[in-house]
C-alpha cells in the first residue's frame, strides 16, 4: 500500500494526486516560513509571498530553479530601477505601482522574447500563472521600499528568495511527499508546531547576533 486509504479515496473522487500533495504541503511550507521568522529571525515579505513563490518555483519545473530565480531577480531589479525613474515625477501611489507593474511585465516579456531568439525555448514557454505571480511580487517590493527603504526592501527580497528555495527543496523532497501521502495526519502536527511557535518568547537566532555586543556587558 503506497498511500493512505484516505488519499486513495480522494483520488477515486477525481481529485488529482498532484493537487492533494501540494495542498498537504502548504501547511508544511507555511509552518516553515513561520519557523524562519520566529526562531531564526529571517523576515521576508510576510508569509504569503515566500509560500506563493515556493509554489511558483515548483510550477516552473522542470527548469524551476534556473528560470524561477532568474525571473525573480529580474522582477526585483526592474522594480528597483523603476522606482528611481518614477521617483522624480512624484506621482501618487497606485498609479506609480501600476506603472511599475507595467514596466516589470514588459521587461519580462522582452526577456522571454530574447530567450526565444537565443533558442532557449524552455524560458519562452514557461507557464503564465507562476509568471504573473512573480510579476505581482513587484507591488510587495515597492510597498516595502516606501515603508522601509531600498536597502531593507532588497534584504527582504533576498530573504524571501532564500526561504522560497528552502521551501522548494522541501516540496521536491520525494521522501517527504511520500511520507505525507502515506501518513496525511502528520500535517496536523503543524498546528502543534505553530502553537508553540506562537507562544515562543525566546530570542531569535538573528537577535543573538544583533545583540552579541551586549553580552560582554551583562553580568
Amino acid at each position: 500500500m503506497l498511500y493512505h486509504p484516505f488519499i486513495n479515496f480522494m483520488v477515486e473522487q477525481g481529485v488529482p494526486l498532484q493537487t492533494i500533495a501540494l495542498l498537504l504541503m502548504l501547511p508544511v511550507v507555511a509552518t516553515m516560513v513561520a519557523f524562519f521568522r520566529q526562531v531564526i529571525g529571517i523576515k521576508a515579505f510576510g508569509i504569503y509571498t515566500p509560500s506563493i513563490i515556493t509554489f511558483a518555483l515548483i510550477a516552473f519545473d522542470p527548469n524551476g530553479l534556473k528560470y524561477g530565480i532568474a525571473i525573480f531577480i529580474s522582477v526585483i531589479l526592474v522594480g528597483m530601477i523603476s522606482r528611481y525613474i518614477l521617483k522624480r515625477f512624484r506621482i501618487l501611489y497606485l498609479p506609480r505601482v501600476a506603472m511599475t507593474l507595467s514596466i516589470v511585465s514588459l521587461s519580462i516579456l522582452s526577456i522571454l522574447v530574447f530567450g526565444g531568439i537565443q533558442h532557449r525555448t524552455g524560458l519562452a514557454s514557461v507557464d503564465i500563472f507562476p509568471l504573473l505571480i512573480m510579476i505581482t511580487i513587484a507591488e510587495k517590493f515597492v510597498a516595502t521600499q516606501i515603508e522601509k527603504g531600498n536597502r531593507m526592501a532588497f534584504i527582504l527580497a533576498v530573504e524571501t528568495l532564500g526561504i522560497s528555495l528552502v521551501g522548494y527543496f522541501l516540496i521536491r523532497w520525494d521522501g517527504l511527499i511520500l511520507f505525507v501521502l502515506r501518513f496525511p495526519w502528520v500535517v496536523l502536527l503543524t498546528f502543534v508546531i505553530n502553537f508553540s511557535l506562537g507562544k515562543w518568547t525566546g530570542l531569535r537566532i538573528a537577535e543573538y547576533i544583533r545583540f552579541r555586543k551586549i553580552f560582554k556587558y551583562i553580568q
Binding site: 516606501i146 527603504g149 518568547t201 525566546g202 551583562i218
Partner: protein, 468 residues
C-alpha cells in the same frame, strides 16, 4: 555556551516584546492614539503636556485648494498624520527674501507653493501612511535646536526616546541625526543612539545605526558619553504622564527639547524598537521584570523608582576607578555623639570651606554641651590677625584644654564680619557609608539652611558631583 544563554535572558527580543508586552498591554484603542498624530497631540495637550504647536490642518483636496498660504509662518514642519519612520516630513526654515510663495529647506534649496501642494496631495492620498489609507496633512511649528545639542546633531533635531512600563521609566536613549540619516533621528536610517543613565540623565554608551558601538561622533573628537540632558527630570515626568493618559502599558515616548519651550512630546510609539538595548548596552527584559508587579501610586514615585533602579552606572564606574565615593552638594550624614548617640542631618558639602563647621545646638544634642558652655568664658584677644593665627591657637588651647572638656583645638575664622575664635571638637560621622573623624568648629548656624557644613579637610575620600 550555557553562560551565553543565561545572559540572553535579560534581553528583550521581538517575540517576547510582541507576545508579552505589546499584545496584552497596548490595546487597539490605545494604539490608535500612537498612530494618529493629531489625536495624540490633542490628548497630550489636554493633559497639560507640551507638544509642538499645530498651525493648520488640511483634510481634503478642497481644503488644499482654498488654503490661505499667507497664514503660514516663515518656518514650519509639514507632516502626514499617519506617517511612520519619519517619512513624508517636510521642514522649512524661512521664507525666501521678497518671495512670499517660496520657502528655504534645511539643505538650502528652495521649495515653492506648487511643490508643497504636490507633497500635500501625496499625503492626502496616503503615500506615506501604513497600508496607503487616505491621510491628513498638518503644519506644525518647527522646533529650534538646543545649544547643548548643536555640536552633536546634523541638521535635524535630536530626540529622547524613553521606554515607560508600569509608570516607571525603564530605559532611555538620545537619538542624534547624522548625515547618513539625512537629519532624521531614526536609528534604522543611520542616526546615532546614545544610552542614558536614568538617575542623572547623563549619556553613557553609544551606537551608530543598527549596532556599531562608537565613542565619538564619527569624524570628530566629540565624546558621546557624559552629555548632560537638560530638563531630565521634566523629560521623565512627561513620559510617565504620557503613559498615564495614553493607556499604553508599554510605551516609547519621543521627546524633543526646544530652545525656547523646553521639552515637548513629538510622538508616542506603541511598538518601540529594541535597539535602545544596544545603545545602553543593557537588557530591557531584565529591567521590565524588575518593575513589573510593583504598585506605583504616583507619577513621582514611578520616576523615583526608575532613577533608583536604573541609574548610577556612571557613579559606580567613577567610584571603582578612583576608589572614592561620589557625593552631591548636599548629603545625609550620621553624626556620632559622645555617648554613641547617632543623629542624622543634611550637610552642605562646601569645597570652598577649609574645615567642617557645626551648629551650637547640634553640638549640644550630641553631648558636647559642656564644651560649648565652657568656651563661652574664653575671651578672644583684641588683635587677631592672620600673622598671629597659629600663636593665638596655641596659647588659647594650652590655656583651656584642661578646663574645657572635649576641646581638641581652637579655630580662628576670618570673614567679612571680622575675625572670631571657635572651639574645635572631634566628632566622627558617617557619610555615604564612609566613616570620617572630623575636627569640627562650633558656631551658631541657626539662621543658616544646614546645621553642618563639611569642608575640604574632611572630603579627601570623596568626589563631589554638583549636579547630584
Amino acid at each position: 555556551m550555557l553562560d551565553f544563554i543565561r545572559k540572553s535572558h535579560g534581553l528583550l527580543g521581538m517575540n517576547a516584546r510582541n507576545l508579552e508586552y505589546i499584545r496584552p498591554l497596548n490595546r487597539k484603542k490605545n494604539r490608535e492614539l500612537a498612530d494618529n498624530k493629531l489625536l495624540c497631540k490633542r490628548t497630550l495637550k489636554k493633559a497639560g503636556l507640551g507638544v509642538p504647536k499645530l498651525i493648520a490642518c488640511i483634510r481634503t483636496h478642497d481644503e488644499l485648494e482654498s488654503f490661505d498660504w499667507t497664514t503660514l509662518p516663515g518656518s514650519f514642519a509639514l507632516k502626514p498624520n499617519r506617517g511612520f519612520g519619519g517619512e513624508g516630513i517636510l521642514v522649512v526654515y524661512a521664507r525666501k527674501k521678497g518671495r512670499p510663495d517660496t520657502w528655504i529647506k534645511a539643505d538650502g534649496s528652495t521649495i515653492a507653493i506648487d511643490d508643497i501642494k504636490t507633497h500635500i496631495r501625496n499625503i492626502l492620498d496616503g503615500s506615506f501612511s501604513l497600508a496607503n489609507i487616505p491621510d491628513i496633512a498638518f503644519f506644525e511649528e518647527r522646533l529650534t535646536l538646543l545649544k547643548t545639542f548643536k555640536p552633536y546633531a546634523y541638521k535635524g533635531i535630536p530626540d529622547i526616546r524613553v521606554i515607560v512600563f508600569n509608570r516607571v521609566p525603564v530605559m532611555a536613549m538620545l537619538r542624534l541625526p547624522t548625515q547618513a540619516s539625512s537629519g532624521k533621528a531614526n536609528l534604522q536610517q543611520g542616526a546615532i543612539g546614545v544610552g542614558i543613565d536614568m538617575a542623572t540623565g547623563t549619556t553613557t554608551t553609544a551606537i551608530l545605526g543598527k549596532g556599531h558601538i562608537i565613542e565619538y561622533i564619527p569624524g570628530t573628537r566629540l565624546a558621546l558619553s557624559g552629555i548632560k540632558i537638560p530638563y531630565w527630570k521634566e523629560v521623565l515626568k512627561m513620559s510617565v504622564v504620557a503613559q498615564e493618559v495614553s493607556g499604553l502599558g508599554f510605551l516609547g515616548a519621543d521627546i524633543a527639547i526646544d530652545r525656547e519651550r523646553g521639552p515637548v512630546i513629538l510622538e508616542l510609539n506603541a511598538r518601540p524598537g529594541l535597539s535602545i538595548q544596544l545603545a545602553n548596552l543593557s537588557g530591557l527584559k531584565d529591567r521590565l521584570k524588575r518593575v513589573s508587579g510593583l504598585k506605583i501610586k504616583t507619577t513621582e514615585r514611578g520616576i523615583r523608582v526608575g532613577q533608583n533602579l536604573f541609574g548610577g552606572e556612571i557613579e559606580e564606574a567613577v567610584e571603582e576607578l578612583s576608589g572614592k565615593r561620589v557625593i552631591g552638594s548636599v548629603e545625609k550624614v550620621k553624626l556620632i555623639g559622645k555617648d554613641g548617640k547617632e543623629i542624622e542631618v543634611e550637610a552642605k558639602i562646601d569645597t570652598g570651606a577649609d574645615s567642617t563647621s557645626i551648629d551650637t545646638e547640634l553640638a549640644r544634642e550630641l553631648g558636647f554641651g559642656s564644651a560649648v558652655e565652657g568656651f563661652k568664658s574664653v575671651i578672644a584677644p583684641e588683635d587677631i590677625s592672620p600673622e598671629r593665627e597659629s600663636e593665638i591657637k596655641k596659647t588659647l588651647f594650652e590655656k583651656h584644654k584642661d578646663s574645657i572638656p572635649d576641646l581638641a583645638g581652637i579655630s580662628v575664622v576670618f570673614s567679612s564680619h571680622g575675625a572670631s575664635i571657635r572651639p574645635v571638637i572631634k566628632i566622627p560621622f558617617i557619610m555615604d557609608e564612609t566613616e570620617v573623624l572630623a575636627s569640627c568648629n562650633i558656631t551658631d548656624r541657626s539662621s543658616l539652611n544646614y546645621p553642618i557644613i563639611i569642608g575640604r579637610k574632611n572630603l579627601g575620600r570623596f568626589l563631589v558631583d554638583v549636579t547630584k
